[in-house]
C-alpha cells in the first residue's frame, strides 16, 4: 500500500497523452532554462508554468506527499547551509551592499543575499515539479521507447525501464522480509541503537539481494526465450507516434530555453539579474 510512490497510473489528459520523447525534451529544456538563468523574474515565469503543468497533469497531491516532505527538508537545509557557508556571496555577485541586519562582522543579512538565496530556492522549486511530472506521467516502457528514439541503445533503455518497473516489487519484498526478520526478534524501531539498527538492516538486505537475483535470472531467461536482443533494432508497442501537440510543446519548451538564454545575454548582460544598480 505504501508502494504507490513510483507506480505509474494511466490517466487520460493532455500531459499523459504526450509522447515520452516530448516530455523528455520539455523536461530538459525547461530545467536547463531555470538552471542557467539567475533572473528571478524569468524563474518565477517558469515556476508558474510548471505549476500549471502540474495542475493539468491531475497528479494527486497524496501520491507525492512523502516525496514533497523530503524535498521541503532538503530545500530548507540547503537554504540554511548556503547562508552558513557563504553569507556574503550575494554581495559578491551583485557588487553592492544593502545591509538590513547584522549578527557579527561575517554574518550580516543583506538584500543581495536574500535575493540570491530566494532565486536559488525558486530554481529548485520550479525544476522539481517538472521532474515529478515527467516520472509519474510517463509509462516506463514508453520512456524506454523515447530514449531509444533519441539514440540510446535499446538494451540500456529497456534495462532502465525494467528497473522502474520492478522497483515497487522490490519494496514489497523488502517489507515481507523485514516482517519475517522482525518476528525472529530483529528490532528495527528507534528503541535500538543506530549501530545495531544498521547491522539489523544488513540482515534484511542479504535475503533481499538473493531474492532479487532470483528474479533477475527468471526475467532474463523469459526475455531470451522471447527473442530479446536478436536484432539491432526493435519496435515498441508502447511507443506513441508524435502528434500535433507534441510538436507544439517541444517548440514551446525550446522557445522558453531560448528566452532564458536571450534574457541573460541581451537584457541582463550576464546570468544574473541585478536590480541594485
Amino acid at each position: 500500500m505504501k508502494t504507490k510512490l513510483f507506480d505509474y497510473i494511466d490517466r487520460d489528459n493532455f500531459i499523459y497523452n504526450l509522447s515520452g520523447l516530448t516530455k523528455l525534451v520539455a523536461f530538459i529544456c525547461l530545467t536547463f532554462s531555470v538552471m542557467f538563468s539567475y533572473d528571478i523574474r524569468y524563474i518565477i515565469f517558469v515556476l508558474v508554468l510548471s505549476f500549471c503543468f502540474f495542475k493539468v497533469s491531475e497528479i494527486s497531491f497524496r501520491q507525492i506527499r512523502t516525496m514533497m516532505i523530503y524535498v521541503g527538508v532538503f530545500l530548507l537545509l540547503n537554504f540554511c547551509l548556503t547562508y552558513l557557508f557563504s553569507p556574503q556571496y550575494g554581495t559578491e555577485i551583485y557588487g553592492t551592499v544593502h545591509e538590513i541586519f547584522r549578527f557579527n562582522s561575517r554574518y550580516t543579512v543583506t538584500l543581495e543575499q536574500i535575493l540570491y538565496q530566494v532565486t536559488k530556492i525558486l530554481k529548485y522549486a520550479s525544476g522539481i515539479p517538472l521532474g515529478i511530472i515527467f516520472l509519474l506521467t510517463t509509462n516506463p516502457s514508453e520512456f524506454a521507447a523515447s530514449l531509444n528514439r533519441i539514440g540510446v541503445s535499446y538494451k540500456a533503455a529497456y534495462a532502465l525501464a525494467l528497473t522502474l518497473r520492478y522497483f515497487p516489487d522490490m519494496i514489497r519484498d523488502y517489507q515481507d522480509i523485514s516482517l519475517a526478520q522482525q518476528s525472529r526478534g530483529l528490532d528495527m524501531s528507534r528503541k535500538e541503537k543506530l549501530g545495531a539498527r544498521i547491522k539489523n538492516m544488513m540482515n534484511i538486505f542479504v535475503p533481499l539481494i538473493f531474492t532479487t537475483l532470483d528474479r533477475i535470472e527468471l526475467i532474463s531467461n523469459a526475455m531470451d526465450l522471447r527473442g530479446f536482443g536478436k536484432h539491432k533494432k526493435r519496435t515498441w508497442y508502447a511507443g506513441k507516434p508524435l502528434g500535433k501537440n507534441d510538436f507544439l510543446v517541444m517548440i514551446f519548451s525550446a522557445a522558453v530555453l531560448a528566452g532564458s538564454i536571450g534574457v541573460s545575454f541581451f537584457v541582463n548582460g550576464s546570468r544574473f539579474y541585478n536590480p541594485f544598480v
Partner: protein, 577 residues
C-alpha cells in the same frame, strides 16, 4: 491419433547432457521422438532431469546454462546445436513456471507484444496480432490491465498468449500448475487442451501433478528418472504398469484407492482419466473394501491454544480484507487455512503474528488477549516461516542462521549452542552444522528456516505454502517432518492450496473466501462439499468422484477411510524401514 500422419517434430537420438558445474551428466542416452500434433506429458521427481530436458528443447541449454552436449537433438528436422535461441524460439514457445516473474511488460498488451517488438513488427500489425492472440485465451478485453490487477490464472494466460504470437508449432509448458489453485489449474488444463485441438499444435507439458494434467486427453506420458527415460506409455497403460510409486511420483488418488482395494489395474480399465474409467469392473471390490474399513474414533478434545473472536481487518476503508472471522484451534492440532489467492489467508497469518493489527475483534493465545503483545513478544510463542526460504536466510553459515534469533535476544553463547544443536537435530540438519547455507538444496534450506524459528521454542508454527514447488518425494519428506514436530506437541498451521496436503495431513481445515470464513471442519468434509469447494476455488477430490461414480453410499466416509488406511500403511512402512 493413429490415423493422423506421423511427422516427427522432436527427435532425441542417444542424447546426453552434462552441466559444466556438475561432475555427472544430468541426461543419459535419451532416445525420444515426438510427432506433430501430439500432446505429451513429461513427469519425474525433481532432480530427475525433466526441467533440463525442457531447457534443451527451448534453447536455454546451451544458451544460458552451459554444458556439454553429446548425441543429437533435432527439432523440425534441424539439429539444435546449429541453431541459436532465437531461431529455436520461433519453433518452440515456452510458458515458464512462474508467470509472475516472467511478466515483462507493464500491461497485458505490451507483454504479449514483447516477441513481436523484438522482431521489429510495425505498430499497427503488432496491435492486430496481439488482439487476435489475446482473444484466443480470453484476455482480449484486458489489454490495458497491469499485472497487479490480474489473478494467477490470468497472468498465465498472458504468458501463454505471449508465446503464441510467434505462431510456434510446439508449445512447452514448464510446470504450468505450480502456482495455481486447484480450480484455476483445471481451467488452465482446459485451455491448453482447447488450443491443442483448435490450433493443431504439438504440446509438451512438464509437470509433477500427474492427476491434474490427466484430467484432459494426453497421448503419451514420459517418465524421467535419474536422467533416463523410465517409461513412455499412454496414460491407461501407465496406470496399469505400476511404476510411478517406486519412482517417487504420485499416481492419481483414485488409482491408489483401487490398489488399496486389491484391484489389479489393467489397460482396458482406462484408468488414465477418471471419466473414462470403467467403473463396472471395479465396483464390487471397492465396495467390499469400503465395508471392511473400521471406523476410527474421534480424537479427544484438548485445550484451545489460539482463538479468534469476530476479527475484522481492512487496509483502506473501501475494501475489507477480513470480515468477522472466528475460529478456535486446539493445542497440538494440524490445521490448514485454505482459499483463493487474495482471499485473506496471508493477512490472517500476519494478524496472528502481529505484523498488522486487527480493526475489530480479539485474538486469544491460551485464553490470554494478545492485543498489546508486540511482534517480538508473539514470536516467542508463534513462529512464522515464509514460503521462499531465500527470503528468510540472511547468514552465510547454517549455525549462525539458526542462532540468530537467540543472539538477538542476548542469550549467552554457551546456552545457544545446545539449543541450536537441538533444533538442527529435530530438522535432521545436525550433520550440516558447520556447513554454508549455499551448499544445501531448496528443501534443506526450507528446513534451515524452520530450525531457525524452532530454536525460539514456539508453541505454534505458521507455515506459508510449506510444500510449494516440491515434488512428491520432498513433499512427503517435509510433511512427515512437520508431522513429527506436531507429535512433539507443536501446533501447526499451514496456509496452502494443496488439496493432497489438506486431506492427508490436516484433520482440521479453515476455508477463507472473499475475506469471510466459509468453512471450518475436517478436510474430508470440506473437500467433499461441492458448494464450499466451488466458492474457494478448490476441487472435489477425485476419491469423492470415484465413490460417487461407483455408487458408494456415503462418499465422504469413503474418503475418510482412504485417508485413515493410507496413514496406517505409511506408518507401517516407516516402522519397517
Amino acid at each position: 491419433m493413429s490415423e493422423r500422419e506421423k511427422t516427427p517434430v522432436i527427435q532425441f537420438k542417444d542424447f546426453q547432457f552434462q552441466y559444466f558445474s556438475q561432475a555427472e551428466p544430468t541426461l543419459h542416452n535419451i532416445d525420444l521422438t515426438i510427432f506433430k500434433g501430439e500432446k505429451i506429458l513429461i513427469v519425474g521427481p525433481s532432480g530427475s532431469g525433466k526441467s533440463t530436458l525442457g531447457h534443451c528443447l527451448n534453447g536455454l541449454i546451451p544458451f544460458s546454462y552451459k554444458g556439454e552436449i553429446n548425441g543429437s537433438l533435432r527439432i523440425m528436422g534441424q539439429e539444435t546445436k546449429d541453431m541459436d535461441i532465437f531461431q529455436l524460439s520461433k519453433m518452440v514457445g515456452t510458458v515458464l513456471q512462474d508467470s509472475d516473474g516472467q511478466f515483462i511488460g507493464l500491461t497485458v498488451g505490451e507483454d504479449v507484444a514483447f516477441a513481436l517488438e523484438n522482431d521489429c513488427v510495425e505498430l499497427d500489425k503488432m496491435k492486430d496480432t496481439v488482439q487476435k492472440v489475446t482473444d484466443i485465451v480470453d484476455m482480449g478485453e484486458l489489454l490495458k490491465s497491469s499485472p497487479f490487477e490480474l489473478s494467477g490464472g490470468q497472468k498465465q494466460r498472458v504468458s501463454f498468449a505471449g508465446v503464441m504470437v510467434d505462431n510456434v508449432d510446439i508449445l512447452l509448458f514448464d510446470e504450468p500448475l505450480a502456482n495455481l489453485d486447484p480450480a484455476t489449474g483445471k481451467t488452465a488444463i482446459d485451455l491448453i487442451d482447447r488450443v491443442w485441438k483448435d490450433q493443431e499444435k504439438t504440446v509438451i507439458i512438464i509437470e509433477h501433478r500427474l492427476e491434474d494434467v490427466l484430467y484432459r486427453d494426453v497421448d503419451r506420458v514420459i517418465v524421467i528418472s535419474d536422467g533416463r527415460i523410465a517409461a513412455d506409455l499412454p496414460p491407461d497403460e501407465l496406470m496399469a504398469a505400476d511404476i510411478l510409486p517406486e519412482l517417487g511420483i504420485r499416481e492419481p488418488l483414485y488409482v491408489t484407492a483401487m490398489k488399496y482395494a486389491g484391484i489389479k489395474v489393467t489397460p482396458d480399465m482406462h484408468a488414465g482419466r477418471l471419466d473414462t474409467l470403467d467403473t463396472e469392473q471395479i465396483r464390487e471390490p471397492l465396495l467390499a473394501w469400503n465395508r471392511a474399513q473400521a471406523k476410527k474414533e474421534k480424537p479427544k478434545e484438548r485445550p484451545v491454544i489460539l482463538e479468534a473472536d469476530h476479527i475484522s481487518f481492512q487496509y483502506t476503508k473501501k475494501r475489507k480484507i477480513l470480515q468477522d472471522i472466528s475460529f478456535s484451534i486446539q493445542e497440538g492440532e494440524m490445521v490448514s487455512i485454505v482459499g483463493t489467492n487474495g482471499a485473506g489467508k496471508s493477512t490472517l497469518a500476519k494478524l496472528i503474528c502481529g505484523f498488522v493489527k486487527e480493526d475489530e475483534g480479539k485474538l486469544y493465545y491460551s485464553g490470554e488477549d494478545m492485543a498489546d503483545k508486540t511482534i517480538k513478544e508473539r514470536s516467542e510463542k508463534i513462529g512464522y516461516v515464509m514460503q521462499n526460504p531465500n527470503q528468510m536466510i540472511c547468514k552465510p553459515m547454517i549455525y549462525d542462521e539458526v542462532a540468530l534469533g537467540l543472539r538477538i535476544r542476548g542469550v549467552p553463547e554457551e546456552e545457544i549452542e545446545p539449543k541450536v544443536d537441538m533444533a538442527l537435530k529435530i530438522c535432521g540438519l545436525l550433520p550440516f552444522k558447520k556447513w554454508p547455507v549455499s551448499a544445501l538444496s531448496f528443501g534443506q534450506k526450507k528446513r534451515v528456516t524452520i530450525a531457525s524459528v524452532l530454536v525460539l521454542e514456539p508453541q505454534i508454527l505458521i507455515l506459508d505454502e510449506p510444500t510449494a514447488g516440491q515434488d512428491y518425494h520432498h513433499y512427503t519428506e517435509i510433511m512427515e517432518f512437520l508431522k513429527s514436530l506436531n507429535s512433539r506437541g507443536v501446533t501447526i498451521i499451514m496456509i496452502t492450496h494443496d488439496m493432497h496436503l489438506m486431506l492427508e495431513y490436516t484433520p482440521h481445515a479453515i476455508v477463507i473466501s472473499g475475506g469471510k470464513k466459509i468453512g471450518d471442519a475436517s478436510a474430508v468434509e470440506i473437500l467433499t462439499d461441492r458448494s464450499i469447494t466451488e466458492q474457494a476455488n478448490l476441487k472435489l477430490t477425485s476419491l469423492y468422484e470415484l465413490a460417487v461414480s461407483t455408487g458408494i453410499e456415503d462418499p465422504s466416509s469413503f474418503v475418510q477411510n482412504f485417508i485413515d488406511y493410507e496413514r496406517g500403511t505409511r506408518r507401517n512402512e516407516n516402522e519397517t524401514v
